[in-house]
Symmetry: C2
Subunit: 262 residues, 2 copies
């Protein structure tokens, strides 16, 4: 695979990043969860089709190994060109989340954590998430925690130094879209860190709505992973993000000639 | 301007056309109305940004001249590479619509008519539209009539040989999206000609929803023309169409490897 094919330029309209962590620039506003895939080939094609620049991996505590076929992947994808983020999406308790994060750092050198603490599969526990975030930041991780949309929790997470906050749109895997726009707007108003909208985003219309609400980025997982054609679905979601991003920008007074937009 | 810049490839996923009229292939599923613009430069940039392959023009009956600056446009855009379509969007009666069509053919050689008969600015008159369509088809025009979503009217229009049928999503200029999904679904089920959804599509989320409903294409006008940055808005709508199109396709069982989709 040539470098050109894997080098990611998801954010076509500009080269600005919406988040920078320790010199690593997040440009694509589409983040795809890939922990549900078993085929390295499909992961590679989905990431390319979505023009993603974040690579999410995790560690299976039960089987003591990375949950996706990393060595196989590195044969077909230049994964070092992605920003590596570890996820604790299988953690049901704060302790499991912390353990996963430590193992990810020890085994793969990952220090950016997509922090999930979900006692019930589909629902983040805000209190345990705050506690885990504090601990991880104390241990010099960059943390992107996942919460139910609550402005006070988001404020606390921003105050302790989280890099971004991820808020639940609707039940994970539900493909239902955004349940409570107002709650998400309140989070958006409360914090200065980027807000990522995630969970239940099942169609490009949901993604557009999330961008309209002010999301810096969206995280899509099940809708792509479970689609009959996940590669095409990743492309759909990429276009939806660009549609939403351009829509928000197009409603601002024009600054330049307007030519050359993506 | 180089040929490459104006040659249109809106439909990235495939080169199939969704409509062919007398050897002219409609590929982009985004059609932009441009009769509200006065600047040739903006028209050119909007069409490019939307990757449109249809060029819509009309004739101002009151001032006896084309409603957009055609000569100026041909200096900056290779308009002959577009499919020319004449619109009767200012016609309030069947007679005005017919007169506009005849003038468009005499003055510009246009024989593809986007037929609107709207006694009230925002509302097509189905009965007069059918009558005008019959007359125009008898005079060897290709006709794409605009109706309020009604399956019987759509069936009649298909039977008399219309090339496609355009159905109203919501009040023209309202930016409200789709008022009556069921009525549009019934039109879609009733006819075999392409269904174009149009009117009130104000955001990329509306466009995605229209594509999900089975639209072969969408026609967007006010939302782009009245945006502070119409060029960026055209880009947003283009991505929305691609998002919707890929979404529909991604839910079909995969046929190929899935690689290389747009």
């Amino acid at each position: 695979m040539s470098k050109e094919q894997t080098l990611i330029t998801g954010q076509q309209r500009s080269t600005d990043s919406w988040l920078t962590i320790r010199g690593r620039h997040f440009r694509s506003r589409l983040i795809l969860g890939i922990e549900q895939y078993t085929s390295a080939k499909v992961i590679a094609e989905v990431l390319r089709s979505g023009r993603c620049d974040v690579f999410i991996t995790t560690f299976d505590l039960r089987n003591s190994k990375p949950s996706i076929p990393l060595s196989e992947l590195s044969d077909i994808l230049e994964i070092d060109e992605f920003i590596w983020m570890g996820t604790t999406s299988f953690a049901r308790t704060q302790e499991e989340a912390l353990r996963t994060a430590y193992i990810l750092r020890e085994s793969l050198g990952i220090d950016v954590i997509k922090l999930d603490v979900r006692p019930i599969d589909s629902r983040p526990d805000n209190e345990q998430t705050v506690a885990a975030a504090k601990e991880l930041i104390g241990q010099d991780f960059a943390v992107l925690p996942f919460i139910q949309p609550d402005a006070d929790t988001a404020t606390e997470l921003a105050t302790i130094g989280c890099s971004a906050v991820r808020v639940l749109a609707s039940q994970v895997g539900s493909n239902r879209g955004i349940d409570d726009e107002l709650a998400i707007r309140r989070v958006y108003d409360a914090v200065d860190i980027p807000v990522i909208i995630e969970g239940g985003l099942g169609s490009p219309a949901h993604v557009v709505s999330a961008m309209e609400l002010g999301a810096a980025a969206v995280l899509v997982n099940t809708a792509v992973a479970c689609a009959p054609d996940p590669v095409l679905m990743a492309s759909s979601m990429r276009h939806a993000v660009l549609a939403g991003e351009n829509f928000v920008a197009a409603r601002q007074p024009a600054t330049a000639s307007g030519a050359g937009h993506g």
